[in-house]
């Protein structure tokens, strides 16, 4: 075990997959000599050559469509979007071709798309988005949102080996800020299994990605309140671990769904609706959602702070719930 940043865990995990499986290749803008905008693939081209670490033209559709073709021919492509925001330029390839090909035509499309996502550094409306909810609505796509270095590595290995199109959202705000022990050996972290980030009895927070840490800080601030908060990190949205969520709700009877993406139509709605439908009788309070408001992501730091759910917002939400 070694302590690694979230970023290093992704980078090491990817390198390991490339070493053990010749079918894996990386393609994206500036992933070669430059090592990618966030340096995840730094040194990869030297090790694996220019045909396994491919500098693509500025062509998200060609990148994702190209990965789809290569995957159908037996490769295990890993595409890097320079920022998750730019995946909008490959939306059609993902929802029309990759997502539906297995179901329609029996052809699996084992691709992984790495998506540096999330805000917190004044990236503005086009370098800060969390578009996971949009994809979670499309049958046939898997949606992965690791929060810890350990999961970042294990979920990436699973994504690459999974026979389906996997959207791997790596949160930029965690890249260098989050550091933790990561097993040295190779392992795969299974999809659809939530992680109990912190156990508790009185309130449940269901969340993923960077918000796991916001929830943790908020829970710490409630220490004096004599309420114990359970934090469930979903880890993957598709599939999502409904069982674990319902179990936590059954235990605490009060639940907060928290995400960094915008409110209306965000995946929090799906979770809250499912809880309301399937754990109705276990609830002692309305299912609360805390999310970003329905605006683009703002640039100016004060605005961005008002946009991204903050520790104090979560504290207030938890107190409301506790008092209900």
């Amino acid at each position: 075990m070694a302590e690694k940043t979230y970023l290093q865990a992704i980078s090491d995990g990817l390198r390991e997959e490339m070493r053990r499986d010749k079918r894996v290749f990386v393609i994206g803008e500036d992933v070669g000599v430059y090592g990618g905008a966030f340096k995840v693939t730094l040194g990869f081209q030297e090790e694996f050559g220019a045909w396994r670490v491919i500098d693509a033209p500025l062509s998200e559709t060609a990148i994702v469509g190209g990965c789809t073709g290569a995957a159908i021919m037996g490769m295990r492509p890993v595409a890097e979007m320079q920022f998750a925001d730019f995946i909008s330029c490959a939306w059609d390839q993902l929802v029309t071709v990759a997502a539906k090909q297995r179901w329609r035509a029996g052809t699996p499309v084992p691709i992984t798309v790495r998506l540096p996502s999330g805000g917190g550094f004044s990236g503005g409306p086009f370098h800060s988005q969390n578009p996971e909810s949009s994809f979670a609505h499309i049958p046939g796509l898997k949606v992965i949102c690791p929060a810890t270095p350990e999961d970042a590595k294990g979920l990436l290995a699973s994504a690459i080996q999974d026979p389906n199109p996997c959207l791997y959202f790596e949160h930029k705000h965690l890249y260098r800020r989050i550091k933790a022990e990561v097993p040295d050996e190779r392992y795969e972290t299974p999809f659809g299994k939530a992680r109990v980030h912190q156990e508790g009895d009185d309130l449940s927070v269901i969340t993923w990605g960077a918000m796991v840490y916001t929830a943790e800080e908020a829970a710490q601030q409630l220490d004096g309140d004599d309420v114990s908060v359970e934090i469930l990190d979903l880890r993957t949205l598709i599939p999502w671990d409904k069982q674990a969520v319902l179990e936590s709700v059954r235990k605490t009877s009060k639940v907060l769904v928290l995400h960094e993406d915008t409110h209306t139509g965000g995946f929090g709605g799906e979770i809250a609706a499912t809880i309301a439908e399937e754990a109705f009788e276990d609830l002692d309070a309305p299912v609360k959602r805390i999310t970003a408001p329905d605006t683009p992501v703002p640039f100016s730091p004060g605005l961005e702070k008002a946009f991204i759910p903050q520790v104090e917002d979560v504290v207030a939400g938890l107190r409301d719930l506790a008092a209900y």
Partner: protein, 347 residues
């Protein structure tokens, strides 16, 4: 990087040079007849109410589709579209499965999940088209990328229509293929109409093959009603790609001889245009050529036509026996399992 207008094929010798013996020539004829036969029968099925949804044919495009598919190697792959039934036929998809596909039965390649020519048998090296045009071009380029990475001598063939040439996917696919000189051949089925839209509202250059220059590879315009010329050009391009020569864009000129789909009477196509192009019906044209240059006898022809008739009769009967898909399995297979990877490509 020259745009070439391909000569028609004149002689048997020329064709032999391009790698076809007499048996191949008759096989091509048979495939063209099967192709048209499937679509004609499909049309009848449609009128009988046996085909749900809409119905499309590729009448006029038989030479183009069969010609290209004949030039492909066994390990090459392709992404044919809605006018390219001849590709499926030539690669060996059994007609009864196509009828089953038309009728939404469980033995169609998509098991009733998709309709029309939205299908492919991946074991025959074909990838099922999506409606969104030309979204399969980047995918074809991706196949070529895999071949290039693995240094295999295989080629991918990607089809698109002249209408679909306007979309960004065509550009991104060709640009990337050109930059990396990938083993891919682009076939533009230019049938002069995109639904009701004429070419001058779709593009403003003379030939779409001209665009190959913009991407750093060769372009060629071929008469798409001349199956042997199509074959020859496709063969050249495919072998060039196979030997590291990079992509080629082949623009195959035809006329869509029917409406966009069965509901469309094509009122917007000038009558004279249909009359003019009817004179070079691909099957008739090739039949004459076979008579003149390959001494196809009446007996041989009868045998082919009779054989195709029987084949299609049996195919229809068999397809009608194919059960409707089980609605209970509707939600199966949205996600692939590792076992699904048990295909020739994923070994």
């Amino acid at each position: 990087m020259a745009i070439r207008e391909a000569e028609p094929v004149g002689s048997l010798r020329e064709v032999k040079e391009a790698g076809l013996d007499r048996e191949d020539l008759l096989g091509i004829y048979r495939n063209m007849v099967i192709t048209r036969g499937i679509e004609e029968r499909g049309h009848i099925l449609y009128k009988q109410g046996k085909i749900p949804g809409s119905f499309y044919t590729g009448r006029g495009n038989e030479a183009s589709a069969v010609g290209v598919a004949t030039a492909m190697g066994a390990n090459d792959v392709g992404t044919p579209l809605h006018r390219d039934m001849g590709v499926h036929v030539t690669r060996g998809v059994e007609p009864w499965r196509i009828f089953a596909q038309y009728m939404g039965r469980s033995d169609g390649p998509t098991h009733g999940r998709d309709g029309n020519v939205h299908m492919a048998d991946s074991n025959l090296g074909l990838l099922a088209m999506v409606s969104h045009l030309p979204a399969m071009l980047p995918v074809a380029v991706g196949c070529a990328l895999a071949f290039r990475i693995r240094e295999e001598n295989r080629v991918a063939v990607g089809w698109y229509g002249e209408g679909a040439s306007a979309r960004g996917d065509a550009h991104e696919a060709m640009n990337f293929a050109g930059v990396r000189q990938l083993p891919v051949v682009f076939i533009c089925d230019n049938n002069q109409w995109a639904y009701s839209t004429p070419t001058h509202l779709e593009y403003a250059c003379e030939h779409l093959a001209d665009r190959a220059q913009a991407y750093g590879f060769d372009g060629v315009v071929v008469d798409g009603t001349d199956v042997l010329a199509v074959y020859r050009e496709a063969k050249r391009a495919i072998e060039k790609a196979r030997t590291g020569g990079g992509p080629t864009l082949i623009e195959s000129l035809t006329l869509r001889m029917e409406g966009h789909a069965v509901h469309d009477d094509a009122f917007y196509v000038p009558k004279e245009m249909f009359e003019e192009w009817a004179k070079s019906d691909p099957i008739e044209r090739y039949r004459s050529w076979l008579n003149a240059h390959a001494d196809m006898t009446q007996d041989e022809e009868d045998e082919i036509l009779g054989g195709v008739k029987r084949l299609l009769n049996e195919a229809l009967a068999r397809a009608e026996e194919s059960p409707l898909p089980d609605a209970g399995k509707l939600t199966d297979g949205v996600f692939a399992t590792p076992e699904d990877l048990d295909t020739p490509h994923h070994k």
